[in-house]
């Protein structure tokens, strides 16, 4: 491992991973990595057992049932599966003005192809905080008779702002609109319960807030949700002589071999999160956020965007391009992400569409000492390079 590296890019992927997650992935690769659901010999069955255990664990953590837990490659894939699965027959979809490209681009592509129409509702206003009532009013102003689905983030990937998903979910449920949540930045940080939050489809990654390996995303459907159109077709271990993927969830949606080592790691990742509790994890992240905010807000010529406490803080050094700040910090051993973070809508909403910004993503392994050294480095860069 690289020495003298301080990792603050946890919003992209958490690092390092817990030892228990490494052990689980290694144990899978070395002891039982058969092809889950593709046979009944002991090695395939052990893999299948682990995959089922992961489905049980995910379902229990987010409030669904194992057969509704679909494993994908990543959150982007899960969101494509959800959006295209619901909207392939046309209709209208709403998305927020804080969406990642994983929602915006599928919507834009389907609109270009005349498959659907979509509108963007204002969920964030940089000039004033929006109340839940105002957000709902903004949604209502964009509704159409054929609005079929509302897809939005839970938490932003460029700041710590979160949408009131329960209230949006209740609104959607009352109006017969399917509610899909992108929990890429909130899973493992904030409590989510699909039943209580009225979520129909929840998409999330294993490798971010659940501290698991890359290569596994998850689409969770609520119990009783009507079948979605499939995004991919191929082998799923069931009824091989038929030409369709069948009707059984989750296999209907899982063409091809699953990433069992990542899924094995996910079981341990969720155990890891449970061992601390979301309250403790969130508290730790907010403490580091406040510490960073206090240090940086006293620096002249530095702008912090959005003051919601959480796992992400976005800033710019006035007069120095964000990418240059990132390079200078990288030279000092700090890992952060700069630019647009695949979220042009959100950067526009925050007022950073011209050049992007620098993102600090806190994780459970970050310490106050690391925050202090990062803030000192930023202060030093401002002093040295600010003209």
């Amino acid at each position: 491992m690289l020495q003298n590296i301080v990792y603050f890019d946890n919003a992209a992927t958490t690092f390092p991973k817990p030892q228990s997650v490494l052990n689980a992935a290694y144990e899978c690769m070395s002891e039982y990595c058969g092809n889950a659901g593709r046979g009944s010999h002991p090695i395939a069955m052990m893999s299948a057992e682990k995959v089922f255990e992961a489905r049980e664990s995910v379902a229990d953590f987010f409030g669904s049932t194992p057969e509704n837990v679909v494993f994908t490659l990543n959150t982007t894939y899960a969101l494509n599966m959800a959006i295209k699965g619901v909207m392939s027959n046309g209709g209208h979809m709403l998305i927020s003005n804080m969406e990642h490209n994983s929602v915006l681009r599928p919507a834009a592509r389907m609109a270009r192809d005349n498959v659907l129409r979509y509108d963007i509702f204002k969920a964030y206003d940089k000039t004033k905080p929006l109340s839940t009532k105002e957000i709902i009013t903004n949604i209502i102003s964009k509704l159409r008779k054929d609005t079929k689905m509302l897809t939005c983030i839970h938490s932003s990937n460029i700041c710590s702002y979160s949408l009131p998903i329960r209230e949006i979910g209740e609104f959607c449920r009352r109006h017969g609109i399917l509610f899909c949540v992108d929990a890429a930045q909130s899973a493992g940080h904030l409590p989510i319960n699909m039943e209580k939050d009225c979520i129909d489809i929840l998409c999330l990654p294993a490798h971010k807030g659940l501290y698991s390996p890359q290569g596994c995303g998850i689409m969770i459907m609520r119990k009783g949700l009507q079948k979605l159109a499939t995004l991919t077709e191929g082998g799923n271990g069931v009824n091989s002589l038929e030409l369709s993927m069948g009707n059984e969830s989750p296999e209907r949606y899982e063409g091809g071999t699953l990433c069992t080592p990542a899924i094995a790691g996910l079981v341990s990742g969720i155990e890891f999160i449970r061992s601390f509790g979301l309250h403790t994890i969130g508290g730790h992240e907010r403490k580091l956020w406040r510490q960073t905010y206090d240090r940086l807000s006293s620096i002249k010529d530095l702008t912090i965007y959005d003051d919601t406490e959480g796992s992400v803080l976005l800033f710019n050094v006035n007069g120095i391009p964000a990418d240059d700040v990132g390079e200078l910090l990288s030279d000092r051993g700090f890992c952060l992400r700069t630019g647009y973070h695949c979220s042009p809508l959100a950067h526009k909403a925050l007022g950073t569409a011209d050049g992007g910004a620098v993102r600090i993503g806190f994780g459970i392994f970050n310490t106050e000492k690391e925050v202090d050294s990062l803030c000192l480095a930023i202060r030093d860069i401002v002093r040295q390079y600010r003209v």
Partner: protein, 94 residues
């Protein structure tokens, strides 16, 4: 915050007891591996032993399909338990 649970995971347990040999074999054909495991868990909750198997000859399926084998002596109990658990059984083989 640097502490974390240490050590290896508990050994991966084989819930599917491959040594289980019912005296008289009956099979509930469920479909996918997930549905078969759901059935096995449902039966396990009421202490009925069952083994997840790939079902071959005798099933009406069109290709690979999974189910659970159990002792025919428990046939009525299994039917009742799987129906209560909402497991969609395609067919029972006796």
């Amino acid at each position: 915050m640097s502490s974390q649970p240490n050590g290896r995971n508990k050994e991966t347990q084989m819930r599917n007891d491959i040594s289980y040999r019912p005296q008289a074999v009956c099979t509930a054909v469920t479909g996918s591996m997930t549905s078969a495991m759901t059935a096995q868990r449902a039966l396990g909750k009421i202490a009925l032993r069952a083994k997840v198997v790939k079902v071959g000859i005798g099933s009406k399926s069109k290709g690979c399909i999974y189910g659970v084998e159990f002792d025919c002596a428990a046939y009525a109990s299994v039917r009742s338990a799987l129906a209560s658990a909402g497991v969609d059984v395609k067919e029972y083989l006796r």
